[in-house]
């Protein structure tokens, strides 16, 4: 600031406007901010004890503040553009706050005066800034931290509101800066702190748009069109596929309470955040300071938003963190792991109690089912034997079923009206040939017929193939053709069919 303002006096007023001098002065100095925060103005920032903020790389979280009074906290954050692993065999140039994605975790206390330094590494290609959602003021600090490569900016704010807040770069084009990794979380602890837990971790989700497809090897570049269309190639936790799996899994012990500070950088995709096999005992929804809900399976976290979830781990095992919009987890990378070690608690979770071979029919259960079925079939047969009338039930039912059989096959030649085709296919309607011999009809349907015949005085010489009907169907279809289109030739029973079949 000072150097720049010294360089300006020689220039005409128009150029001063062009350089935007006024816009570069922070809205409030540290002292003013402290006074603004305390209306009585008793305590100036200058009187506050000074602390250097302890920042951590993901997935670690700085220890609780523990202070019962405000302090002036100095935060030093370096912007660096680094090429890192995005997935196996895939590299990407991330723009980072502190060398990792997400950026370093910042932890302050409600009422603290934060002196913020944003340092843009000389190797950066672009200017960057920071918008902390914890800041009350224009651009959340973005207006005061716009920093060219190889430069450093400072501004001061008072953390007026407690909560878990996203911070991100807000330099145009913002979606690209965020997609490339420029986001993180700042926790403003309530004055009395949060309830103590055994473990705290830091996880953020982001969507990445590469010119190549998911899995395409080598250095990948940002894809403008996919970003505008919101078609991410990768959706990941903590900046890379597999950043929280295997050796890098989060750790806890049985009986401990775990707190996850979870945020979504975006730029576009919200998260259905879920831990497989766990239930969130408490959810501080949207990163607010009161836990708004208990016993939650999946909590929705918006882009540019956060949540705090607490849960006690009761049993050992690997618990999987996912975006439960599941192709994001299954296909795009949004998977992490929490490994819990310790003694089993079978009352809560038994583990697998039974594993045995299942053979269907060959198994005990299958054999029992088959035996029961056989028993029922035998009962039915006995009932029919005792009262043959019930086998085909009634002529009306036979006609109904026979019509269906006729219309699957017979009608193709004999026609739906039973008249056949003159000189080619003989008629059934009014057929003396059909009327003459019921048993012959059963044999013809069963075995087919070829060679010359005479029907109603007219010669036919063609081939009828055997029909693949059950004995029931034969009885039904013959009853149908012998009692339709004006025919009244009597019925064919299942017993008739069985009798004819038994004759040869």
């Amino acid at each position: 600031m000072k150097k720049t303002s010294r360089s300006l006096p020689r220039f005409p007023a128009a150029l001063l406007v062009a350089l935007g001098v006024g816009a570069w002065v922070p809205a409030l100095s540290a002292e003013e901010a402290a006074v603004a925060a305390k209306p009585n103005g008793k305590k100036l920032a200058a009187d506050l004890p000074v602390e250097i903020a302890h920042l951590t790389q993901p997935p670690m979280v700085p220890p609780p503040i523990g202070r019962k009074h405000p302090a002036k906290v100095v935060v030093d954050l370096e912007v660096k553009e680094v090429t890192k692993r995005l997935a196996d065999g895939v590299e990407y140039t991330f723009w980072t706050y502190g060398g990792e994605v997400p950026g370093k975790f910042i932890r302050v206390r409600e009422g603290d005066v934060v002196e913020f330094h944003l340092n843009n590494h000389p190797s950066s290609k672009l200017p960057h800034n920071i918008d902390l959602h914890a800041v009350t003021g224009p651009g959340g600090g973005a207006a005061s931290t716009f920093t060219a490569p190889g430069h450093s900016s400072q501004f001061t704010f008072t953390a007026l509101n407690a909560g878990l807040y996203v911070y991100h770069c807000a330099t145009a084009p913002v979606p690209m800066h965020i997609s490339n990794g420029m986001y993180g979380l700042i926790l403003v602890e309530p004055k009395d702190g949060l309830p103590p837990v055994d473990r705290e971790y830091y996880v953020m989700q982001g969507d990445i748009y590469t010119q190549g497809a998911n899995g395409d090897q080598g250095l990948q570049y940002f894809d403008n069109t996919k970003a505008v269309d919101e078609r991410p190639t990768y959706i990941v936790f903590n900046g890379a596929v597999g950043s929280l799996t295997g050796d890098k899994a989060l750790q806890a012990k049985v009986g401990e309470t775990v707190r996850l500070y979870f945020g979504v950088g975006g730029p576009n995709i919200t998260s259905s955040f879920h831990v497989i096999g766990e239930i969130f005992d408490k959810v501080y929804a949207e990163g607010g300071t009161r836990f708004a809900q208990e016993n939650v399976q999946t909590t929705m976290v918006p882009s540019g938003g956060s949540t705090i979830v607490d849960f006690k781990v009761d049993v050992p095992g690997t618990f999987i963190l996912v975006d439960h919009s599941l192709t994001r987890a299954f296909n795009k990378g949004a998977i992490g792991m929490l490994k819990v070690t310790g003694p089993e608690t079978p009352v809560i979770y038994s583990g697998k109690e039974v594993d045995e071979v299942y053979l269907g029919q060959a198994s005990d259960a299958g054999a029992k089912a088959s035996a029961r079925e056989a028993e029922l079939v035998a009962k039915k047969a006995a009932a029919i034997a005792a009262n043959p009338e019930i086998a085909n039930i009634t002529k009306e039912i036979q006609l109904e079923r026979g019509k269906k059989v006729f219309l699957t096959s017979c009608f193709a030649c004999h026609m739906a009206d039973g008249k056949g085709l003159p000189n080619v296919f003989p008629p059934l309607a009014g057929s003396d040939f059909l009327k003459a011999d019921k048993d012959r009809a059963i044999r013809i349907v069963t075995k087919g017929l070829s060679g010359p015949i005479t029907v109603n005085g007219k010669p036919y010489n063609n081939v009828m193939p055997p029909q693949q009907f059950t004995e029931d169907q034969i009885a039904d279809v013959l009853t149908y053709v012998m009692n339709t289109w004006g025919n009244d030739f009597g019925t064919v029973s299942l017993a008739d069919v069985k009798r004819v079949h038994s004759q040869n």
């Binding site: 020689r10 406007v17 350089l19 190797s123 290609k125 490569p149 084009p173 913002v174 940002f222 403008n224």
Partner: protein, 231 residues
């Protein structure tokens, strides 16, 4: 130098009353950025622009920071690589000493809009993606030779893909000429505000150039920021 014929330039940001396209008269433009060797010759002839002598008003402490001395380039500043870490003041002085000037934003953008085979790169398949790729990579420790990139339709090399370049009116992107209005303008382009008044919201490289220029002050000597001259 190469001749850039008269044409138009469509600013990515413009006021409501401003035309969509701005006419740009024909001009001459250096075919490649100014090299370390050329800038060394300049500071020899004009000692007040040497690193130890330059006024802090005109260049910050990073000025010619890759050089090993006032008149020694050293290993990080090859003679044929583009000179970087030069302030706007120094770049202007260099141009004036050659009887040239810095191009305006309109001129630079007009020249850089050309593709490899036509005057409008946006219509060339893959051109925009190639341009965008450079912006996503951090600056290398040592830059390649100026002029080694493929010449564009007008015969100019390295307008994309090598270094940022100063323009004469680098910090006017947000200025409408109406001074009362200017004070309300959001020159830092943060967040969604960057999209207000924008012409083509999908032209990310154009946004980045506007953003980059807006982050500068005239005495800044930024790594990877060089210049070329116009006439």
């Amino acid at each position: 130098m190469v001749r850039i014929p008269a044409g138009t330039y469509a600013p990515i940001l413009r006021g409501a009353d401003e035309p969509e396209r701005v006419p740009v008269a024909a001009f001459l433009l250096d075919a490649r950025p100014v090299t370390n060797a050329e800038f060394l010759a300049f500071v020899r002839a004009h000692p007040k622009w040497q690193r130890s002598r330059v006024s802090p008003l005109f260049a910050d402490t990073g000025y010619l920071g890759d050089w090993t001395g006032d008149l020694e380039l050293g290993p990080r500043a090859p003679a044929d690589a583009p000179v970087v870490r030069v302030s706007w003041f120094a770049a202007r002085a260099f141009a004036a000493a050659q009887g040239k000037r810095l191009p305006t934003t309109a001129e630079w953008e007009r020249a850089a809009a050309a593709g490899f085979t036509s005057a409008d790169g946006a219509t060339e398949s893959g051109f925009s993606a190639t341009v965008l790729a450079w912006y996503t990579k951090p600056s290398p420790e040592t830059l390649p030779a100026a002029g080694s990139g493929r010449a564009n339709f007008f015969g100019a090399h390295d307008l994309h893909g090598l270094v940022w370049e100063w323009v004469d009116d680098f910090n006017t992107a947000m200025v409408t000429g109406e001074s009362r209005g200017d004070t309300g303008l959001d020159r830092t382009l943060f967040c969604g505000a960057g999209a207000a008044n924008a012409r083509d919201l999908t032209n990310y490289p154009a946004f980045m150039r506007v953003g980059f220029r807006s982050s500068l002050r005239a005495n800044y000597a930024v790594p990877n920021l060089g210049f070329r001259c116009a006439k």
